[in-house]
């Protein structure tokens, strides 16, 4: 006998407003029985990301509500359809935040979409990515079964970390019902500075700064200037600003970067290259915006897709056609056959009928 009644509050959903998990599970069982592909949608603000899914729309935006938030536990648990702006507003009231700074492309953007897309903002190299802050999820698998993976505590090594696997899986493994995220206190002080110079100069400066325990929380280069953000205790931030020099800059520029509202980030066809910080990418012409201290580089280029991808791989990273892919294009860098085989088996374990976002990440997955 298993303890199916572990969380008695969670066993029946009918009486709780915002909880649509029974209906969602029922729809999944139907779809699986008919092998009918489902295109899972939160707020729909990241529909451009990933390959096109030919499937019936499966909205989760009605499955909403904060389930638990206790600031002293540094954890928030919310249903997947809860707007992320609502969560951020609630955290801000208690002087806390989502430290991975997810990009938010609209008020309807959901926390489920944030986790499923796995996208993180400027703080990522210094604070961690979405998957570093996911403590647990409840998902519906392709059988319509509710699975609780992970939990609400930071240290937890019982069972495989299937919850981290959901971050960035683009909904291909299951439908997120709720997510538990670790939250962080907002820094006491936050300042930005900018320094003139080309990227190689900026790169060397970043390398030198990152060797030391400075409160860096952002580092991007727009082609002509390096922008640095510092967050932390007052004295540490003030000392770092004084030492780094440069000119004062606005924090607003980091917001624009985070939400991808500025410069080339709004381009119709946009590449994201994930690279070792100091990597040099040869032979690609185009406009660059370099974030994550060099680790994430945005590119607008007319060069051939294969060529861009090959250059990124040669430099030790990978390239994603973040926005503006033609339906026939690969979006993500193809995987070696040995890894793809494991992806397919994991997909089959969670979604045996193959109904969840088929092809969103890769053809055949």
């Amino acid at each position: 006998m298993f303890m199916e009644a572990r969380f008695p509050l969670l066993t029946s959903t009918a009486s709780r407003p915002g909880d649509q998990s029974d209906a969602l599970a029922e729809r999944i069982r139907e779809a699986s029985a008919r092998r009918e592909p489902l295109s899972i949608v939160g707020g729909g603000t990241k529909a451009f990301y990933g390959r096109h899914v030919a499937g019936a729309l499966f909205p989760i935006s009605g499955h909403t509500g904060i389930i638990d938030y206790e600031p002293s536990e540094l954890v928030i648990t919310a249903r997947a359809g809860t707007p992320v702006v609502e969560i951020e507003a609630l955290l801000a009231q208690r002087n806390q935040m989502l430290a991975f700074e997810p990009p938010i492309f609209g008020a309807v953007s959901t926390i489920g979409g944030v986790v499923a897309s796995g996208l993180s903002g400027p703080r990522r190299p210094f604070a961690g990515a979405v998957r570093d802050f996911v403590l647990g999820v409840t998902v519906l698998d392709g059988r319509g079964q509710r699975l609780r993976l992970g939990g609400t505590v930071f240290k937890n090594v019982a069972g495989f970390d299937g919850f981290r696997l959901m971050a960035g899986a683009l909904g291909c493994l299951g439908v997120l019902l709720d997510v538990s995220l670790r939250v962080a206190p907002r820094p006491k002080a936050e300042l930005a500075v900018s320094l003139e110079g080309d990227w190689p100069t900026a790169r060397d400066r970043i390398t030198q700064l990152m060797r030391r325990p400075l409160p860096l929380s952002g580092a991007f280069h727009d082609g002509t200037r390096l922008y640095l953000r510092l967050s932390g205790p007052e004295t540490a931030v003030a000392q770092a600003v004084q030492e780094i020099g440069g000119e004062p800059a606005g924090l607003v520029q980091f917001d624009a970067l985070r939400h991808m509202r500025s410069g080339i980030l709004t381009a119709a066809k946009l590449w994201r290259l994930s690279l070792p910080r100091s990597a040099q990418v040869e032979d690609i012409s185009g406009d660059w915006l370099i974030d994550w201290a060099g680790g994430q580089r945005w590119l607008v280029s007319q060069d051939a897709n294969d060529r861009i991808r090959a250059s990124a791989v040669a430099a030790g990273g990978h390239a994603t056609l973040f926005r503006g892919a033609d339906p026939a294009d690969a979006v993500f860098t193809p995987l070696p056959a040995s890894l793809f085989k494991i992806h397919q088996r994991l997909k089959g374990a969670f979604d045996p009928a193959g109904v969840f976002n088929p092809g969103r990440m890769y053809e055949g997955l």
Binding site: M1, F2, M3, R6, F7, D68, S72, E73, L74, V75, R131, D132, D141, Q145, R146, R148, T152, V153, F154, K155, N156, V157, A158, G159, D161, G162, R164, L165, A167, G168, A169, T207, M210, R211, P213, G232, P233, E234, T235, S274, L275, P276, S278, W292, Q296, G316, G317, H318, F332, P334, L335, S338, F340, K341, I342, H343, R345, L346, G348, A349
Partner: protein, 499 residues
């Protein structure tokens, strides 16, 4: 005892021809790379959970990834179970040999391959000791953050298998947050690279899945770890409390105030008095509980935050608050904490260390319940607590020579873990499920969840040969042992509020 594998409740495998296996492995391994006699294999019969013992079929000691691949492909071909082992310091029996298995020791993978201080990474083999990494990168002003208590001996490969934490993980994260790339070999003989030299990799986050997978998915042959700059300054504060609950309230208040200490540890009266008589740390032995709070950063900020923490502790009812006067006193404060486990030897011939995590706010309830259970079982329990992250280490004191006490301690430990689950926590914070907590998995997870874990394992290891009988219970085992957790349909610990 759980070191006995059960044909009805654990995975089973057909018998194989040992002479054929030895002949094929000899062709792969150097002359000193294979141990086959009971005398030679004795040292591998247990890990840090020494109460669980069993001899493997043989021991393989490869020197390079190609040999690991050869061993795994041979074992896959002959359907021989494989148990990978790092330094053998694990506390959950994760490296306990399965009967007839090939015990695959990674101890010869002991080289630091590359330190790139500018990229703040080191590429190391899995047998490298945790502390050896921080020692090697110290000249560059860097360190490797996860620091489990066993860091002087434990290996980085074992840390990956267990997703090891340590005293400083509240601020600096677990192993999963501090590694960037893994090379591993599967039983199919595939050599996989998970993660990358950049901050992410395409596809599912298999590196995160591999971390903490307890040797069930593959064998790690190389790890790229992230390094951090050493903090300029660190200081530690000791606060004493007349009641455990006020100490618990102070912990919640510190975190709620936005302070993220580098370390935040709590010890109850029994633990702190034993530690004091062992290490002479200067602990107030009349306190019901003490809190150790370490802060790091710039000297000015540390001084300011120390004052805030001291104020919070006093407001929460601390009877005494002390800041270490110098580095020597700071080292003594920590020596007491780090020596708390061995100090138990002063109180009882044996102790059994439990490893549950609970939401911090449930600490007073849970400690009270543990005290009740301890009294009922007639076995004293001392509590050491990674308070910042809710990871509780009750130490059950017993005498293995007294008939039945070992089993009683095991049963009490199991009951404490179920208590942790019932308040919304977990049966293991950092030691892993291993063999030890295989039955409690049935208390924490539903049948569907156990089935999905088994399917995830099968995605990497379709034949189920890697570390069988560990971490993920069979459905048969849960049918047998899950039953004891629900008495007459009643939810256990019904008097406690649910999550």
């Amino acid at each position: 005892m759980l070191d006995q594998f059960d044909q009805a409740l654990d995975p089973t495998f057909a018998t194989y021809n040992r002479a054929v296996l030895i002949a094929r492995l000899k062709a792969i391994l150097p002359a000193d790379g294979l141990l086959t006699t009971p005398e030679a294999m004795r040292v591998y019969e247990c890990d840090g959970l020494a109460a669980y013992r069993g001899l493997p079929g043989l021991v393989a000691l490869p020197r390079n990834p190609e040999q690991v691949r050869g061993i795994l492909m041979t074992c896959a071909d002959l359907e021989v179970p494989v148990v990978a082992r790092g330094a053998g310091t694990g506390l959950s029996g994760g490296a306990l040999p399965f009967p007839g298995c090939v015990l695959l020791s990674l101890s010869r993978f002991n080289r630091i391959l590359e330190i790139d201080a500018d990229a703040r990474v080191a590429r190391v083999q899995p047998g490298v000791r945790n502390l050896a990494i921080s020692e090697a990168v110290a000249p560059y002003g860097l360190f490797y953050a996860p620091d489990p208590s066993s860091q002087i001996a434990c290996s980085i490969g074992g840390n990956v298998a267990e997703n090891a934490g340590g005293v400083h993980c509240l601020k600096y994260g677990l192993t999963v947050h501090n590694i960037q790339k893994l090379d591993m070999v599967t039983l199919d003989g595939d050599v996989l690279t998970l993660g990358s030299d950049s901050l992410d990799a395409p596809g599912f986050d298999l590196m995160a899945l591999m971390t903490g997978s307890e040797g069930l998915l593959g064998v790690v042959t190389e790890v790229t770890v992230k390094l951090l700059p050493q903090p300029v300054h660190a200081q530690v504060l000791l606060a004493a409390f007349a009641e455990v609950s006020t100490g618990g309230a102070a912990v919640a208040a510190i975190i709620a105030a936005g302070v993220i200490p580098a370390g935040l540890e709590m010890m109850d009266h029994l633990a702190l008095t034993a530690a004091e008589s062992h290490a002479h740390a200067g602990y107030p032995v009349d306190a019901a509980a003490i809190l150790l709070c370490e802060l790091d950063g710039s000297p000015e900020d540390v001084a300011q935050e120390l004052q805030r923490v001291a104020d919070i502790c006093e407001a929460s009812g601390a009877t005494e608050v002390r800041v270490a006067r110098d580095a020597a006193e700071r080292a003594r404060f920590w020596a007491g904490r780090k020596g708390a486990f061995p100090a138990m030897g002063r109180l009882a011939p044996d102790y059994y260390c439990i490893d549950g995590t609970i939401p911090r706010r449930r600490l007073p309830d849970v400690l009270e319940e543990i005290a009740r259970m301890s009294a009922a079982a007639g076995l004293p329990v001392a509590n050491v607590f990674h308070a910042g992250d809710g990871n509780l280490h009750p130490l059950i004191l017993y005498d293995a020579n007294a008939p039945g006490q070992m089993e009683q301690a095991e049963a009490l430990g199991g009951a404490i873990l179920e208590l942790c689950v019932s308040v919304g926590g977990t049966i293991t914070g950092e030691h892993g499920v291993g063999r030890e907590k295989i039955n409690q998995m049935c208390a924490q997870f539903s049948r569907a969840e156990i089935e999905i874990f088994a399917a995830m394992k099968a995605a990497f290891d379709p034949r189920g040969l890697l570390n069988p009988g560990k971490a993920i219970p069979t459905l048969a085992r849960c049918a047998e042992f899950g039953a004891m957790h629900v008495h007459g349909g009643a939810v256990p610990f019904a008097h406690l509020d649910r999550l």
